[in-house]
Symmetry: C2
Amino acid sequence: MLPVAVDAVGGDKAPGEIVAGARRAVDDLGVPVLLVGPPDRIGDPLGLEVLACTEVIEMHDEPGSSVRRKKDSSLVRAAEAVRDGRASAMVSAGNTGATMASALLRMGRIKGVARPAIAIPIPVPGTTPTILLDAGANAEVQPEWLVQFAQMGATFFTTLYGGDAPRVGLLSIGEEDVKGRAQEKETNALLRDTKNVNFIGNVEGRDLMTPDVDVVVTDGFTGNVVLKTMEGEMRFVQKALIERIPSELFELLWPHLEPLVLELDPETYGGAMLLGVDGVCIISHGSSSARAITNACRVARDMVDGDLVGHLREAVAAS
Amino acid sequence: MLPVAVDAVGGDKAPGEIVAGARRAVDDLGVPVLLVGPPDRIGDPLGLEVLACTEVIEMHDEPGSSVRRKKDSSLVRAAEAVRDGRASAMVSAGNTGATMASALLRMGRIKGVARPAIAIPIPVPGTTPTILLDAGANAEVQPEWLVQFAQMGATFFTTLYGGDAPRVGLLSIGEEDVKGRAQEKETNALLRDTKNVNFIGNVEGRDLMTPDVDVVVTDGFTGNVVLKTMEGEMRFVQKALIERIPSELFELLWPHLEPLVLELDPETYGGAMLLGVDGVCIISHGSSSARAITNACRVARDMVDGDLVGHLREAVAAS
């Protein structure tokens, strides 16, 4: 397969952890990788091929203008590598907004997609994760876009985990069809009439970490707030457990807790997927370590092998 | 003081736990209580005074129409008792929508309040809770309402915990003033100009369980989704710990975990407060046990003693 283009200079732990993770993807998984970035910023590429460029979009740069201005940046070059058939997918832990903008401007949208959305797997130990989308690409949406998010989310779930009719729920504030804002009421009605989505109705925030739903659809504002609320609560719980449990007891406990902590670790899934652009684009968390990057390369490989983009095109065209 | 009117027949555990909790409020806290409900549904009132009525708004009844139709229901009568100076406050674990509607229709709004909002304390062990509002009264809002929610939430915080300038944050998807939907951008600008609110800017979901903010303002859709997400995640974590940790180890652990579990228990705070109606109205969780009802009576007493409604009136009039 064509290599996965990895933005070597994006993320809080770039380039060290990013390059190390990319190297492991090659060594442990056999996924070919192309590092993208200015050679002097990358440092030692650990023997990996480098697509050299001269600029970097920093974490604090304004996404839209920096993508237009920094044409020779790692993000723009990574997206172009996918567009030009030099790479099969791109992975970045850098500036999220600029990653989206680069992918959107350089790869373009899949025909018929109104707006790309960010899909993120929420770990549910013991079963497959719940896919939440939109996790932040579109703060404000229209009901028709949410229907496409449902189609794209279901397609992503199937490409990741198989099965043929993942259960799709609409995030609202009550299970009845009439609950929620005008946005939810209209979307609920549209989804009831959407043939290629197995719509199970409205779901609530408490359903996210249960095995009762596979894909949860909402606008990017609500999705992002939910995601960060969950992150914050999990961080709080972990901190509280460490503070309150005496260390000798904690040592006895750890062998039982460690598998759970690993299953709950978002790094297990490598990051979020930008669905709706004409190529595979993985947006890893800014704090990604080598493990997250290796897993992102694995997911990228699986999405390329599983023809995610082709299936998304069909799903959106079917309605 | 005038008694707290407790809806004896509302909630999953009514009347048993409700009456028991009310009795404890009298015995342990010296808070006078008036039970409201049909005597045959209440059963043994444990020696408490009963305001008898003939109807009950059930959990599944449609809020608006049931309040209009069931004029002799416990919820309507409890709200009238506050309006008519027979009770100082009302507490119900029954139908949330009907509790709001009864309070709104019978007590009326505080002059100048556009819309009442539900404020709920989110436990933050080691410090005061974070007050989140609106937790579900208004799925769709206007920026001006959110400004009033900020004023009311700050007043509620001060009446509960003292201090004079609680830190108020606007829930959004980034800390910068320009982040969020049109709703957040407009509200952010209005709050920057609101003199009686100590506005610290936008906050994110991950700040809710930290000591960094005292009051978090959002619309009732987002607030309700956030609340239920947190509930679901906490339930998930508790279940996972119980399942994964061998019982003999769990017994050693429990003395260290129990104080944390109690601090995190929403029953510690007795329920949510409906802010903006002309009286004290506490909406307890449908699953409330006696402990929650006792605590709700305590909070009701504190809010009456602290003249919450008078302070809310001043806060809203000041702008």
